[in-house]
């Protein structure tokens, strides 16, 4: 072989080797994104499956999902974000906790304009907050509502009132549930999540409002008192498990466990439990979602989860690519269907989704969304919703265990909200 040709061959081989080494090093070290997540049901598994699809198409990005318990989510995430050591992405119910620390993805997303057409403006405003821009996307839509243990109703030979009557009041529900408890020997009649959010639905059903004409929180209303007396009475009379509402701070027993363990025939929670019950209860007993109790209104409380991105992320472009993928119509639809969640994308909600299981329960909640009152939306989207939730929950717990009176509780909640609105705390 000619000397020049041999030299050329060696140079070509060396270049190929260097190229391959570089390429393999690049392939071995994709950008790693951290995604903090909590689970209500099977959504974590569904998300992982979708992210696996994403990673197969985008080998330069790896998404690590860190799952935490919902009750630890805010404390864990807040501490990390506070020192700019947060994840790249997180599933959150309260983006407002992180205003100022959220990443504006507008310049990185492939089609940021489409967000305003496929998501509700109110939810996008919650994400934009005080800093503006697109800081994530609404993941799912939820509505609070009750569940019944159909097997226990059948065993007790008691008819489920909502099967024949579209409007059933709280009083009627508790009366029939009491009959079921007495006939079946289960320890409790009714359980409700220890949450201001869930309990507010009963205030709204009694026709309650939360704001005066100037938009300031007004706690002391007849509906608030009526709903509070109902809740306190349930615990006083041993109808509801004390372990749930007597808990301190964020430490309490999960009301859902009493329903899952067939200790209570009537349980008030929300649409996010459908996937959880579908997985955990499976065919151990028959259960179903029923319409919200009706008094003056038949409303539940709206809600939902968000996926948010953080400013501290070193990889905003890759974060945007993940969000582009997860918000695409097909993927968002698959996520909602497989997770048994109500979609946050308006076009998916309008077109309707075909759920393989629990379709009737999910349609009950979809109907509940249409019955949600304006006051419920106004309350849920208020910047101080979390504060009023927590303060109400904790003060009602104090009343239930006999530490303070209902009058005291109302005064203290009002004082707290007045201070917060005046910007004192």
């Amino acid at each position: 072989m000619h000397k020049t040709s041999r030299l050329f061959l060696w140079v070509a081989l060396a270049a190929l080797l260097i190229f391959n080494l570089g390429a393999s090093a690049h392939a071995q070290a994709p950008v790693e994104l951290r995604f903090t997540w909590y689970n209500d049901g099977v959504e974590g598994q569904v998300l992982r499956g979708l992210l696996d699809q994403f990673e197969a198409k985008n080998p330069d990005i790896k998404v690590v999902v860190d799952t935490v318990a919902f009750k630890d989510l805010h404390a864990t995430l807040s501490a990390q974000v506070e020192v700019d050591k947060g994840p790249d992405l997180a599933r959150e119910t309260e983006p407002q906790r992180y205003y100022g620390k959220l990443l504006d993805l507008t310049s990185y997303l492939s089609d940021p304009k489409s967000f305003s057409t496929v998501y509700s403006a109110a939810l996008l405003n919650v994400l934009a907050g005080t800093q503006g821009g697109i800081t994530g996307y609404p993941l799912d839509f939820t509505s609070s509502g009750p569940f019944v243990n159909v097997s226990l109703f059948k065993k007790a030979n008691v008819a489920i009132p909502s099967d024949t009557n579209a409007k059933v009041s709280w009083t009627e529900w508790v009366e029939v549930a009491k009959k079921v408890r007495d006939a079946t020997g289960v320890p409790y009649t009714v359980a409700i999540d220890r949450s201001g959010h869930r309990w507010f639905s009963s205030v709204l059903e009694y026709g309650g409002t939360f704001f005066d004409k100037d938009g300031k929180f007004t706690i002391d209303t007849p509906a608030f008192r009526k709903a509070a007396e109902m809740l306190i009475g349930w615990h006083k009379d041993g109808l509801a498990p004390l372990e749930v509402w007597a808990g301190g701070g964020s430490g309490y027993a999960a009301a859902a466990d009493f329903f899952i363990n067939q200790q209570v025939p009537l349980y008030y929670s929300g649409s996010w439990q459908v996937s959880n019950f579908d997985k955990v209860i499976a065919d151990k007993f028959e259960w179903k979602a029923v319409p919200n109790p009706c008094d003056v209104t038949c409303t539940g409380m709206p809600g939902g989860g968000f996926v948010i991105a953080f400013k501290s992320s070193q990889h905003p472009k890759e974060v945007a690519r993940v969000i582009d993928f997860l918000t695409s119509k097909d993927i968002a639809g698959k996520f909602a269907v497989d997770s048994r969640l109500l979609p946050a994308r308006l076009d998916l909600a309008k077109d309707g989704l075909t759920y393989p299981t629990r379709a009737t329960d999910l349609s009950t909640f979809l109907k509940a969304v249409t019955l949600t009152s304006d006051e419920a939306f106004r309350l849920q989207n208020h910047p101080l919703i979390q504060a009023v939730n927590v303060e109400t929950r904790d003060r009602l717990s104090q009343v239930i265990v006999g530490e303070i009176t209902l009058d005291d509780a109302i005064k203290k909640i009002q004082a707290k909200m007045d201070d917060l609105q005046a910007g004192k705390k």
Binding site: R97, G100, P187, G248, S250, G251, K412, K425
Partner: protein, 295 residues
């Protein structure tokens, strides 16, 4: 002839030896304590964007925060119950296990064993025992035809059990300290007093207790500080509930900082707690010197 100064000459050597500890103390104790006081003068939901408010957080704590005062009251009840019972029980156990007793080594290990457990494990075990519907203790009561008791759901019982469990988990440690103290008392004192006709009760009041006083003081101060700082066990066992019946000052601080993001208020409360602990430590030093001088 001038001698070259060696860095390890007696004048400087102690400071050099103290330096590593001083650095660690400065970085992990002194600086955070001073920064905590600085934070207590600000208000806001982010430690990086807070407004200066002077002493308003202290004013709010003292005049507006009913839960702060409830936490103070609960802490005093908890500390008083815990320290008194711990000292009395650990003294009784120490005296019992200091005697020639069959299986003495076994009993000493049995009392010390809970000390080896993590507070979280202790809380989880007792939470299971005291659970209302399916707890072990209520199952035993049910066997005897007695009614179930909501041990951790009743405001009076919850504090009693919280104190009892805290004592159970630590009494072995203090007993061990007191056993060492008892064994350092010269036996000739007991022999001489026995010859003089002193009864066991007189020996206890006139020999054991005075001679054990420095050790007892250490036990009192250690258990006092430990009680004031109790967090993990209560966080898992009751998390301050039912209602706020076991909400101690440390839980109050944690809740305000990490649940409500009121960092300034939490910093003010923890500064006040630090002042109380500083006073207690000062009292320990003062009393320790007096007791040492007396003995």
């Amino acid at each position: 002839m001038l001698r070259k100064r060696h860095p390890l000459q007696p004048r400087y050597a102690p400071y050099l030896f103290l330096l590593p500890n001083l650095i660690i103390f400065g970085v992990f104790v002194l600086f955070p304590a001073l920064y905590n006081f600085y934070l207590s003068l600000f208000r806001g939901s982010s430690v990086f964007s807070m407004d200066f408010v002077g002493l308003q957080n202290y004013q709010q704590l003292i005049y507006q925060e009913d839960l702060f005062w409830r936490a103070v009251k609960n802490t005093l009840v908890f500390v008083a119950g815990d320290v008194i019972a711990t000292v009395v029980l650990s003294l009784a156990i120490a005296m019992l296990l200091n005697r020639p007793l069959r299986f003495r080594a076994f009993f000493r290990s049995a009392f010390f064993y809970p000390v080896l457990l993590s507070p979280v494990v202790v809380a989880l075990i007792w939470k299971w025992i005291l659970q209302y519907q399916y707890g072990a203790l209520n199952a035993v009561l049910a066997q005897f035809g007695l009614q179930k008791v909501p041990w951790l759901l009743n405001t009076n019982w919850s504090m009693t059990w919280t104190v009892a469990i805290n004592i159970w988990s630590s009494v072995g440690f203090y007993s061990l300290i007191l056993i060492a103290g008892l064994q350092s008392i010269p036996s000739v004192l007991y022999e001489a007093s026995a010859i003089d006709g002193a009864s066991p009760r007189e020996q206890f009041w006139n020999i054991t207790l005075p001679m054990l006083m420095p050790t007892l003081l250490v036990v009192v101060i250690l258990s006092l500080i430990r009680a004031f700082q109790s967090f993990d066990l209560i966080y898992v066992l009751t998390n301050g509930g039912p209602g706020t019946s076991t909400l101690l000052i440390v839980q109050y601080i944690f809740r305000n900082a990490f649940e409500f993001r009121q960092f300034g208020l939490a910093a003010a409360a923890s500064f006040l707690l630090a002042v109380v602990l500083l006073i207690l430590t000062g009292a320990q030093l003062y009393l320790g010197r007096r007791v040492n001088d007396a003995t």
